[in-house]
């Protein structure tokens, strides 16, 4: 394997393509934020931000920032027509109550049973910042993960069992990496799609758990 695979924007576009009109979606801090810009203009997807926004719009033009309008990543944002403001308890009631159709999160590791580790880099870290990650992971109707396929050192992030502290158990149903799109099923990881420059053999070598081939895989 030599290919870096899809760029982050390409990954975002692949995820965005799978989000139907009308879904309520929370995009985690970091790479998943890129998905917002990749949603086609003619498709209405309603973005939720934990700090009390529904209908979040794109970043404002330079100089047009509203000091009272930020997202959960503390970036300046705008609000679409049809948006609404609410407080933190109501915001997390939406999340915990299963009203968010999809949450896309980053990850340190995802296990083949859907376990997610994305908030603390070691058991020994005494001051990790959990934010809303556990609530989103436990509460959203669907949790997808968007991540590089391996760590910078080339170690697999898709594994049999997470070594990092868990965020939630058995919640991830789909993973989009720079190399592949993978479903998490009762049978484990199932390859849905992969980058053209990587072979299935190489992909399996970079994946820390068995990777089943689905009939729909484009090769």
């Amino acid at each position: 394997m030599s290919a870096a695979g899809w760029s982050r924007r390409e990954m975002a576009a692949r995820v965005a393509a799978e989000i139907p009109e009308g879904w309520y979606v929370n995009l985690g801090i970091g790479i998943p934020t890129l998905i917002a810009d990749a949603i086609p203009d003619d498709r209405e997807v309603v973005l939720h931000s934990e700090n009390g926004l529904l209908g979040m719009g794109p970043a404002p033009e330079k100089g047009q920032e509203d000091p009272w309008l930020i997202n959960a990543g503390k970036q300046h944002v705008t609000l679409h027509k049809g948006g609404a403001f609410f407080h933190h308890a109501d915001s997390f009631a939406m999340i915990r109550g299963g009203h968010i159709d999809l949450c896309v999160l980053g990850a340190y590791e995802v296990a083949s049973n859907g376990d997610l580790a994305n908030w603390a880099i070691s058991e020994a870290d005494a001051a990790p910042a959990v934010g809303g990650a556990m609530d989103l992971a436990a509460g959203a109707k669907r949790v997808w993960v968007m991540t590089e396929h391996t760590t910078r050192d080339g170690a697999p992030k898709l594994v049999e069992q997470c070594r990092y502290p868990l965020t939630a158990l058995g919640v991830v149903s789909r993973i989009c990496t720079n190399l592949a799109v993978i479903d998490v099923t009762p049978a484990g990881f199932v390859l849905r799609d992969k980058h053209q420059d990587i072979s299935i053999e190489d992909l399996r070598r970079l994946t820390g758990a068995s990777l089943l081939a689905a009939e729909t895989v484009h090769v």
Partner: protein, 227 residues
């Protein structure tokens, strides 16, 4: 384009099944989605469980649905009130089951269902017959009762303003159970007096964000009230 507006009452109530749990908003005569409730008779669903503060009054709305024999069970805080004649006849005849829940516990069980809280402790009802057989726990020197979330399959609510994304406002004391029940059902159907353009409802003023609402039926106010 998201558009939760439906054109007909049939469309609004489509798919409600026998045995469903229906949350019915309103308190007293204010904020009751009477058209939606009464139209359940034609819609045909049977064997319903209804959650509402009152067990109907007169022979309209919920009382009419009950009189038509569609309600197997009612969960409410105040079954007997002025004009609850239909309920009383059915109850005496053993034709309807009743679960009485303190009004605040009813509101909180609905709120819990909407908020993903399966159970909570509350001081209300401790030591009374409404807490019989319920788990009790002492916390910080006081006794509490464990209550369960009360989710609905369907919520019927009455709104004031609505837009195509499903954002709702209510009118004065019409907010009551409507805004809570809207969060607590898989399918929330609102009858609204005014249907407005997206963006016409100030985002600071939305009471029920559209995420909680699936269908909107516009039902303009009678002329004498629309002034």
């Amino acid at each position: 384009m998201i558009n939760k507006s439906v054109a007909t009452i049939e469309e609004a109530l489509a798919g409600i099944e026998d045995g469903a749990t229906i949350l019915v908003g309103g308190f007293g005569a204010v904020g009751q989605p009477d058209l939606l409730i009464e139209s359940l008779i034609d819609q045909g669903a049977r064997d319903l469980t209804v959650v509402a503060n009152n067990a109907g009054a007169g022979r309209v709305g919920l009382a009419k649905l009950m009189e038509a024999g569609r309600v197997r069970r009612i969960i409410c805080s105040f079954p007997r009130s002025a004009g609850s004649v239909v309920f009383e006849d059915l109850f005496r005849a053993g034709k309807i089951e009743l679960e009485i829940v303190p009004q605040g516990t009813l509101a909180e069980r609905l709120r819990a269902a909407g908020a993903g809280i399966p159970a909570f402790f509350t001081p209300t009802g401790y030591g009374t017959k409404l807490a019989k057989d319920k788990e009790v726990r002492e916390i910080g020197g006081r006794f509490y009762v464990l209550e369960q979330a009360l989710p609905g399959d369907v919520a019927l609510v009455e709104a004031w303003f609505a837009d195509r994304w499903g954002n709702l406002t209510y009118q004065k004391s019409g907010r009551n159970f409507n805004a809570v029940m809207a969060t607590a059902a898989k399918l929330t159907i609102a009858q609204t007096h005014y249907f407005v353009e997206l963006g016409a409802i100030d985002p600071e003023v939305v009471v029920t964000p559209g995420i909680f609402v699936q269908r909107i039926l516009t039902l303009p106010l009678p002329k004498e009230l629309a002034a």
